[in-house]
């Protein structure tokens, strides 16, 4: 989230699209209710189903799963056509004025540079024209035919309301009504907030869905504003934190990136990360990359990381492919190329697509280790549960070690919520039986492996032997020790960058925040964006002052927010070119002639004059990007793409299936179905009574929602002879599930391309362990293809068939 949960009360208009906050984030959604009740805010919901969020909305419109880009590009078109544009914001705070190279273009659904063999674009022309002065060329009148604004206008021109209706199934009159509502927030003193979740991410072009809304929000001037922003409602309590901490194949901590093998040494790695400003006087904060990177490597390897050995750069693994993400790992596993697999608090057998393939892959491992407080289907993938897990146990040669871990009630530490607040919590209860802390388990494994390398030597022992493990009890580091490492400290005295005689941090002291980090080896810091969480003031994540002096839901002294305790990202953009708040009744920060002051930590140098430095200081442009240059694999603008399994051809290009640059494994092609055989659109979602596959272990939640069901429309039920409450079978080429049918008016057939499209809803909370009745998840049916940029699987749009059936045999 760019903003916080409590900031939502400041909004004028909420759009929930790609999410269902009332059910999946109920207590956060109360801030929408607050805005409606006390500010007169309106709520728009766009969803294939009439959800409980829709039930309290002011306006609802349906949409076919997987067509959000067309819907959003049409909205941008309407805003431009009807002059619902925050012009001063667009001109100065976005890259609308930047001139793009001549080679860039779009036709037949594809951008310039497409290579069908490689399934990839040559992105070299998707960039700005750089002038002789080394800066990007701009035309502040926005008239230049090659400026981003003019290219965007041409790009969205095809997305008329009728065109959108034809693809999305959203009736034109609903669409225009919503456009009018959204258009009002182009006024400088009106804001809209976008609240989305996995309804947008779980598509083969999920990143482009989100970009589409971000672009709309920029055109309306709603980013950086109180009650505005792009608010990703993260699904789990610390998935924001795990991502911030870089627990991913292609990341290091704080969004530093993993080296690839093309980056043959540290200078080469750094050569593409210097991020020089593209406009005169801009900040381009990533210029500090090397300070964060060296401090990170000092945190990893301690004294062993020295300038002479490039700070241990070669000890980091180097990638030969963009990502060893989970889909790739299961693909490799299924081909017999993976021997050991660890699942820490993760139940992939129910979470990832194409369960049949997952079972087959797990069966080829030598050793599976699960670390979890609860039984999981993954740890028992080898156990036969009749139709619910029909495996040949004796033939599965995988050894499984199941380790019991503690849960939240039994440990101390911080979790990062969706609004980037790091909130410390305290253990209350003793763990059951022999259950152990995850930190203990990881440390015990590490010290044993290190001991084996010490005794026996082996392959590449240095990164293990040199890994910094400086804890009072090496086998059991405390959360306090770990949190202090994450914040970072001075290893030797740190001097003022402008006055080398002045010490700013004494050796051994915690740094105040990342501004004190250095790239000369004098500082260490586990995760630069979290620096400030535990400095010499103590554990800022444990602060519990719930005063809100501005009355705007800032709560500046409640726990700690990254970065630098800033609560609203890009808040410089809440003020105009002179530094005056766009809406004087909802100021966040303003320029007082000498510095930025206000209720939040400014998202800019406090003394940077408003006319000089752009608000988006992480970008070398100083502006946000309507045109994302070559940074996304599937285009600098979002363009309509159908899901890989769709009832409709791509209207731009009948040859194009799904996202033309999404990675598709050869083995999965045969499993893709067409609408001749599987005419209905399946989609997946959560229910408010359950959390993923955890709460089926609870008696209370199992009573509230005891058994697996699917939802379908009255019309489809009539067509197929399906009774409400009767058993149905839902299947495609990848799998088959049996469920009780909920025949509902909440799902209605859509008309797309002149034909009815029926949606079948599949909730995701059942398996074969726990207290609830045995059932299935949607992942028996979903597609093993991920988003082209970040590999989130396309679990929100797939094809199925449905028929009445008998009860499954357990």
């Amino acid at each position: 989230m760019t903003n916080s949960w409590t900031d939502i009360k400041n909004t004028d208009l909420v759009i929930v699209m790609g999410g269902n906050a009332a059910e999946a984030h109920p207590c956060g959604f109360k801030w929408v209710t607050e805005a409606k009740a006390h500010r007169g805010a309106k709520l728009i919901v766009v969803d294939p189903r009439y959800t409980r969020t829709a039930a309290v909305s002011d306006y609802y419109a349906p949409i076919r799963p997987g067509t959000d880009i067309a819907w959003l590009m049409g909205m941008i078109r309407w805003m431009i056509e009807n002059d619902k544009v925050h012009w001063e914001y667009v001109r100065n705070f976005t890259n609308a004025a930047f001139i793009v190279q001549d080679g860039f273009g779009w036709s037949d659904g594809l951008f310039s540079g497409y290579d069908p063999e490689k399934r990839d674009y040559d992105r070299s022309t998707w960039d700005y024209v750089i002038g002789e002065d080394g800066f990007a060329e701009v035309d502040m009148t926005l008239e230049h035919p090659r400026c981003v604004w003019q290219l965007l206008k041409r790009h969205v021109d095809v997305y008329t309301p009728e065109f959108v209706e034809n693809i999305c199934g959203t009736p034109v009159e609903n669409y225009l009504h919503i456009a009018e509502m959204i258009g009002e927030t182009s006024a400088p003193d009106k804001t809209m907030t976008s609240m989305y979740a996995l309804g947008w991410t779980q598509h083969s072009k999920g990143s482009q869905n989100i970009r589409g809304m971000a672009m709309l929000q920029l055109i309306l001037g709603n980013i950086g504003m109180a009650g505005g922003g792009m608010n990703a409602l993260r699904g789990h309590s610390n998935i924001q934190g795990l991502t911030d901490m870089g627990l991913m194949s292609n990341l290091l901590t704080g969004y530093l990136s993993m080296p690839t093998e093309r980056e043959v040494d540290y200078p080469t790695y750094m050569s593409t990360r210097n991020f020089k400003p593209l406009r005169p006087g801009q900040t381009s904060y990533w210029q500090n990359y090397s300070k964060f990177m060296v401090s990170f490597m000092k945190a990893m390897y301690g004294d062993a990381a020295q300038a002479e050995n490039d700070w241990g750069y070669h000890w980091l693994p180097k990638l030969d492919v963009p990502n060893y993400d989970i889909l790739r790992m299961f693909e490799l596993m299924n081909d017999g190329h993976v021997n050991l697999y660890f699942c820490q608090g993760f139940n992939p057998l129910l979470a990832f697509p194409n369960r049949g393939k997952l079972t087959s892959a797990l069966s080829k491992l030598k050793l599976l280790v699960t670390i979890d407080p609860l039984e999981t289907e993954t740890s028992r993938f080898w156990e036969n549960h009749g139709e619910f897990n029909d495996v040949d146990t004796a033939s599965i040669q995988t050894e499984v070690i199941q380790l019991p871990s503690t849960c939240f009630a039994e440990d101390d530490g911080s979790l990062t919520n969706s609004g980037r607040w790091l909130q410390w919590h305290w253990k209350a209860a003793t763990p059951p039986g022999q259950a152990k802390l995850d930190t203990w388990i990881m440390s015990q494994i590490f010290v044993r492996v290190r001991e084996l390398y010490r005794k026996e030597g082996g392959s590449v022992p240095d990164p293990i032997l040199n890994l910094s493990w400086d804890y009072a009890d090496e086998g059991d580091p405390t959360p306090e020790e770990l949190a202090r490492e994450v914040n970072g400290r001075a290893l030797t005295a740190v001097y003022d960058s402008t006055d080398p005689t002045k010490v700013v941090v004494e050796a051994g002291k915690q740094v105040v925040n990342f501004s004190q980090l250095r790239d000369d080896g004098s500082t260490m810091c586990g995760c630069w964006i979290y620096s400030g969480c535990w400095n010499e003031d103590g554990n800022n994540m444990a602060r519990r002052d719930n005063e809100d002096p501005s009355g705007m839901g800032v709560y500046p002294n409640w726990t700690w927010s990254w970065p630098l305790n800033r609560r609203t990202l890009y808040n410089r953009a809440s003020a105009d070119m002179e530094g005056r708040p766009w809406d004087p009744t909802r100021p966040i920060i303003e320029w007082n002639g000498e510095r930025w002051v206000g209720s939040d930590v400014p998202d800019i140098s406090p003394t940077a004059r408003p006319q000089d430095v752009g608000p988006f200081i992480m970008n070398p442009e100083g502006t946000s990007r309507l045109f994302s240059r070559g940074m996304m694999r599937d285009g600098p603008f979002p363009t309509h793409m159908e899901p890989f399994e769709s009832p409709m051809q791509n209207v731009f290009n009948a040859e194009m299936r799904g996202n033309p640059v999404a990675r598709v494994f050869e083995a999965d092609v045969a499993d893709l179905g067409t609408s001749d055989e599987f005419p209905y659109v399946g989609t997946s979602y959560r229910l408010t009574e359950h959390f993923h596959y955890w709460t089926k272990h609870n008696r209370v939640n199992s009573v509230l929602q005891p058994e697996f069901f699917v939802e379908l429309s009255v019309q489809l039920a009539e067509e197929k002879g399906i009774q409400n409450g009767g058993w149905v079978r839902v299947w495609n080429k990848r799998g088959s599930v049996k469920a009780k049918a909920v025949v509902t008016k909440r799902i209605k057939p859509l008309i797309c391309d002149g034909k009815p499209v029926h949606v079948v809803g599949v909730p995701l909370h059942w398996g074969f362990t726990g207290n609830a009745k045995k059932g299935y998840g949607p992942n028996s049916l979903t597609v093993f293809i991920g988003d082209a940029n970040i590999e989130t699987p396309e679990s929100k749009a797939f094809l199925v068939n449905i028929e009445p059936s008998e009860e499954p045999v357990a």
């Binding site: 109920p26 207590c27 309590s237 021997n339 039984e375 080898w382 039994e410 209860a429 590449v460």
Partner: protein, 198 residues
């Protein structure tokens, strides 16, 4: 940190003071005062309160956990969970999931001992922590030694281990995440992922 003087504790103390002074000023006799003193205090008032946050979605509602016994003394049983009224986001409210949190902590299917399933077997059997951890460490060492890609074809050191993979959690703390990150990246595991995608 448990709360030094909790909200409920404060009310309890304040309440006791009011009762004592009122009794005296209103002229109650010794017998009545004795009787009042014998009334069983609220159950919750005898429990320890600890602040935590809900582990489900990312709203991260504040909760108060009530335990019998002191966790720092080695035994504390969870009795009750309720919303934290001091928390700015949820202000004491909880959803149907958060309201049933106690059942999650105390569910029958919580794991209580390490177990191993041998190849081809149809059941788990108990294994000691020592044996389980030694076995895992040995498997890591052997596979890493055998399959570590030290250099690529161009001779660049790549130190990449792709025959092992690690999926990290979605509800562990940042501190656990940091320890896990160090161990997994430190060993050279390339196939490292978390639940951000699902």
């Amino acid at each position: 940190m448990n709360i030094d003087l909790s909200r409920r504790g404060f009310l309890k103390l304040a309440g006791a003071g009011v009762v004592a002074t009122s009794l005296g000023s209103m002229g109650f006799g010794e017998a009545e005062a004795q009787e009042l003193a014998q009334i069983r205090p609220y159950k919750l008032a005898t429990l320890n309160e600890t602040r935590n946050t809900c582990p489900y979605c990312s709203v991260a509602c504040g909760i108060i956990m009530y335990t019998k016994g002191d966790v720092h003394q080695g035994q504390a049983d969870l009795i009750h969970v309720e919303g934290d009224v001091d928390h700015p986001t949820n202000r004491g409210t909880l959803c149907p999931k958060g309201s049933a949190l106690k059942d999650f902590v105390t569910s029958d299917t919580r794991l209580t001992e390490p177990k191993i399933r041998r190849p081809g077997s149809d059941s788990f059997e108990p294994i000691s922590w020592e044996d389980a951890l030694d076995r895992i460490a040995r498997a890591i060492k052997d596979d890493r030694d055998e399959n570590m890609v030290q250099f690529n074809e161009a001779g660049v050191p790549v130190n990449r281990w792709t025959t092992a993979g690690f999926l990290a959690a979605s509800a562990t703390t940042n501190e656990t995440a940091w320890a896990t990150f160090k161990v997994v990246k430190g060993m050279g595991i390339a196939g490292f992922d978390n639940q951000a995608r699902v």
